[in-house]
C-alpha cells in the first residue's frame, strides 16, 4: 500500500505524540516534507510556535513550595519557559483527570514511584524519554532507576527523591523511649484509642498490618490476619488523613498523637518547632518519587526541565527544602550535612537499608486489596 504524504505526516505526528520522536526531529522532518510537498498540516503552526510553558502537577504544600522555589523559578529565569503548576492530594485523583484530558494537557507528574508507574503504563499514558537529553541522569542512583527500567526498558520517568512512611508521635504524650520500644505497635496501642491517625491508603495500611503480624510485606501469606489488623487500627483511629496538609494539620492541632507519616512532612513540622518525634520501625515502608513525563508532552522541554532539576545544586536545594533525600548518588555527588541527617537517607547509595514495595507483586493484588480497604475504612 502506498502512503500519501498527508498520511505519512499524520503518522509522524502520532510518533511525536507517543514520544518516539523529539520535538526537534519531528519539526525538522515535518518542515522538510512540507517544503518538498507544499503541504500545511493543521498542527504545524501550533507545533512550530515555541513552547512557552510546561505543565507540572505535584503534591502541593511544603514539597511543591521547595520545588517551585529552587527549581521552577530558576528554570523559568534561565529559559523563559513558564512552569504552570497544579496539585493533587492523592495520585489516583490525578490519574483520573489525565484519563479524561487530551494528551498534552498534563505533562510532568511528581509521581509515587514504581507502584504508580505501573498504573500509568497499564493505562497507556507513558512516553519514552530520550535519556541523552538528560545528561544529569548519570548522577541518579542506579538502584532507583532499575525498578522503572524493569517495567519499561525505555523510561517515561526519572527518579527524583525518596522517603519513608514511618511513625510520627507527639512527644508531649509519647516519650521517644516508648516510641522506640513499641515501634509500629504504637498504631495498635489501646492507650491511644481515639488519638491514632493513619494514611488513607491501602498500601500503607496493609504494609503496617504486615509488620504488626510479622509478615513480609512483599510476600503476604495470611490476608485474613492482615485485614483483622487493619480493622484494629481503624477502630482506634480518629481520622485517616488524605493529604500531607491534612496530616500536618491533625498532628499540629493535637487531634492525633500517633500516626504513620511521611518523613518529609514530619521534618517540616519539626522545623516549625512542634513537639513531633519520628522513627522508622524495622521494615518501615520506603518509597521513591519520580518526575514522570506523560504521553503527548513537549518532550524536549520536559526533558530539559528534568535535567535542570537534577543539577546537583538544584536537586540539593530542593531536597533540603522539601526534607526528602534526593535521588542523587551520594558516592558520586557530595551532599550536604542537612541531607545526610534526613530520615531515610541512605549514605551507601545501594538503598539496601530501605524496604520498597515490589511493584509487580503489589500491582497484581492492587484491585482486590484497594476495594477491601475502601470497605474496611468505611466500617465494613
Amino acid at each position: 500500500m502506498k502512503l500519501s504524504n498527508g498520511k505519512r505526516l499524520e503518522r509522524l505526528h502520532d510518533r511525536y505524540l507517543n514520544g518516539d520522536l523529539s520535538r526537534r526531529t519531528f519539526l525538522t522532518l515535518t518542515a522538510a516534507a512540507a517544503a518538498a510537498a507544499g503541504l500545511d498540516m493543521p498542527w504545524m503552526r501550533q507545533a512550530l510556535a515555541a513552547v512557552e510553558e510546561v505543565r507540572f502537577d505535584g503534591w502541593g504544600g511544603t514539597v511543591q513550595d521547595a520545588i517551585d522555589k529552587y527549581a521552577f523559578k530558576p528554570y523559568t529565569a534561565k529559559t523563559k519557559i513558564k512552569v504552570v503548576q497544579g496539585t493533587f492530594g492523592d495520585e489516583d485523583e490525578i490519574i483520573t483527570k489525565i484519563k479524561t484530558a487530551k494528551p498534552g494537557d498534563y505533562q510532568v507528574i511528581h509521581s509515587s514511584g514504581v507502584n504508580y508507574y505501573i498504573k500509568y503504563v497499564n493505562a497507556g499514558l507513558t512516553s519514552e524519554i530520550n535519556e541523552a537529553n538528560i545528561p544529569n541522569m548519570v548522577n541518579v542512583l542506579q538502584p532507583m532507576i532499575d525498578p522503572f527500567r524493569k517495567l519499561t526498558p525505555k523510561l517515561s520517568a526519572v527518579p527524583y527523591d525518596y522517603g519513608t512512611t514511618g511513625i510520627a508521635y507527639n512527644t508531649k504524650v509519647i516519650s521517644p523511649e516508648e516510641a522506640k520500644e513499641k515501634g509500629a505497635a504504637l498504631l495498635l496501642d489501646k492507650k491511644y484509642a481515639g488519638k491514632v491517625g493513619g494514611y488513607n491508603d491501602m498500601t500503607t495500611r496493609v504494609w503496617y498490618a504486615a509488620l504488626a503480624t510479622g509478615q513480609d510485606p512483599n510476600n503476604l501469606k495470611d490476608m485474613d490476619a492482615i485485614w483483622a489488623k487493619v480493622r484494629e487500627t481503624r477502630d482506634l483511629a480518629k481520622k485517616f488523613w488524605s493529604s500531607g496538609a491534612e496530616l500536618m494539620d491533625l498532628l499540629s492541632k493535637g487531634e492525633i498523637v500517633v500516626t504513620d507519616a511521611w518523613s518529609g512532612r514530619v521534618a517540616a513540622l519539626q522545623d516549625q518547632g512542634l513537639p513531633i518525634g519520628y522513627l522508622d520501625p524495622a521494615g518501615s515502608y520506603a518509597w521513591m518519587e519520580d518526575m514522570l513525563i506523560l504521553k503527548g508532552s513537549p518532550m524536549a522541554e520536559c526533558e530539559e526541565l528534568i535535567n535542570f532539576m537534577l543539577e546537583p545544586a538544584t536537586s540539593i536545594a530542593v531536597a533540603e527544602g522539601q526534607s526528602y533525600p534526593p535521588s542523587l548518588d551520594p558516592t558520586k555527588v557530595k551532599l550536604t550535612e542537612k541531607i545526610e541527617k534526613l530520615p531515610a537517607f541512605d549514605k551507601t547509595g545501594t538503598m539496601k537499608s530501605l524496604t520498597f514495595a515490589d511493584p509487580v507483586y503489589w500491582a497484581t493484588n492492587e484491585d482486590a486489596w484497594a476495594k477491601q480497604w475502601n470497605r474496611i475504612s468505611k466500617g465494613a
Partner: protein, 292 residues
C-alpha cells in the same frame, strides 16, 4: 398569506427555549447517558476498562449488601438533615416575614452572606470550632467545665452540623417565599373571628406555608444525600455517604464502570424522591423558593 409572528407564537417559544434546551442536552442528558453506558463496561484493572458489555457491575450492586447499607444510611442522614433544617429554618423565616423592621432586606442579605465564602472553607472552619483545640473545647477547658476535650469532630454529628450550616439558608428562603405569598388579611380575618395569635398561626399561617416547607425539605434532602465534601472533611471513614463511595470507587480504585453504576443508582434514587414530590406537591414551589 404570510404568517405573522404573534406574542405567544409557539415558534418564538421554541426559539427562546432552544439555547437552554441545547445546553441541557449537551451538558446534562448526554453526560448522564454516557455514564449509563459506562455501567455496562468491563473493568480490567485500576484505570483500565474495555467496552466489552457486561452486567457484572449491576449484578454486584444488586447482590452486595454493603452498597444497600450505604444507600439506606445516606437516605437516613439526608432525611435527618432535612428535618432539622425544617425545624431550625422555619422560625428565622417566620421572623423575617413577620418583623416590622424597616430594613428587612438586610436580614435577607444576611442569609446569603455565607454564599460569598467558598463552601469548602466554610466546612473547614468547623474544624477550628469543634476540634480538640477548637474554640468550644478550649473555652470549656479554660472555664474548668470539662477536663478532657469533647469528641465533637469526625463523627456523624459533625457531618450533620456541617450539612445544616450549608443547607439552612435554602430552607429559610423557601419558607420565607411561601410566607410572603400569604394574604395577610386572612390572618386578620382569623383574629377578628376570635382566634388567638397562636390559633391564627396554627390554622392559617402554618398550613399556607407548608408548600414552601415541603419544597425546602426536598431540596435539603436531595442536596444532603448527594453531598460528598462535608462527610469527607468533618466525618471519619464510617461517616461516609454514598457520594464518598462513588468518589472512592472512581478516584481510589480507578474503577469507572462500578463508579458509574453507583452514580446512576444515586441519580435514580434521588430522582425518584423528586418525582414523588412533583406528583404530590408541584415543582413550582421549588422554583419559587430558589427564586427567593
Amino acid at each position: 398569506m404570510e404568517r405573522r409572528w404573534t406574542l405567544y407564537d409557539p415558534r418564538l417559544a421554541w426559539m427562546l427555549v432552544a439555547p437552554v434546551l441545547l445546553l441541557l442536552i449537551f451538558f446534562l442528558v448526554l453526560p448522564i447517558a454516557v455514564m449509563a453506558a459506562y455501567t455496562f463496561f468491563t473493568f480490567v484493572t485500576a484505570g483500565v476498562e474495555t467496552s466489552a458489555l457486561t452486567t457484572a457491575n449491576w449484578h454486584e450492586f444488586l447482590t452486595d449488601s454493603y452498597y444497600h447499607g450505604f444507600l439506606l444510611k445516606t437516605l437516613r442522614v439526608g432525611a435527618m438533615t432535612a428535618l432539622l433544617c425544617g425545624v431550625l429554618g422555619y422560625f428565622p423565616a417566620y421572623f423575617i416575614w413577620a418583623t416590622t423592621f424597616k430594613h428587612k432586606w438586610l436580614l435577607l442579605l444576611l442569609l446569603i452572606v455565607p454564599f460569598w465564602i467558598s463552601f469548602t472553607i466554610r466546612t473547614f472552619s468547623w474544624i477550628n470550632i469543634l476540634g480538640e483545640q477548637g474554640v468550644i473545647n478550649v473555652a470549656l477547658l479554660k472555664l474548668g467545665i470539662i477536663n478532657e476535650p469533647l469528641p465533637m469532630l469526625y463523627n456523624e454529628g459533625a457531618v450533620i452540623l456541617g450539612l445544616l450550616h450549608f443547607l439552612l439558608p435554602y430552607m429559610i428562603l423557601n419558607v420565607y417565599v411561601s410566607l410572603e405569598g400569604i394574604d395577610r388579611t386572612l390572618i386578620s380575618a382569623a383574629r377578628s373571628m376570635g382566634c388567638t395569635s397562636a390559633q391564627a398561626f396554627r390554622e392559617v399561617t402554618l398550613p399556607l406555608s407548608l408548600p414552601g416547607l415541603a419544597a425546602g425539605l426536598l431540596l435539603c434532602f436531595v442536596l444532603a444525600a448527594g453531598s460528598y465534601v462535608t462527610p469527607q472533611l468533618l466525618g471519619s471513614g464510617r461517616d461516609a455517604l454514598f457520594g464518598n463511595l462513588i468518589y472512592d470507587t472512581i478516584m481510589g480504585e480507578l474503577n469507572w464502570p462500578m463508579g458509574a453504576t453507583l452514580s446512576i443508582v444515586l441519580f435514580v434514587v434521588l430522582g425518584f424522591f423528586a418525582a414523588i414530590y412533583t406528583r404530590y406537591m408541584g415543582m413550582s414551589q421549588i422554583v419559587k423558593g430558589l427564586a427567593g
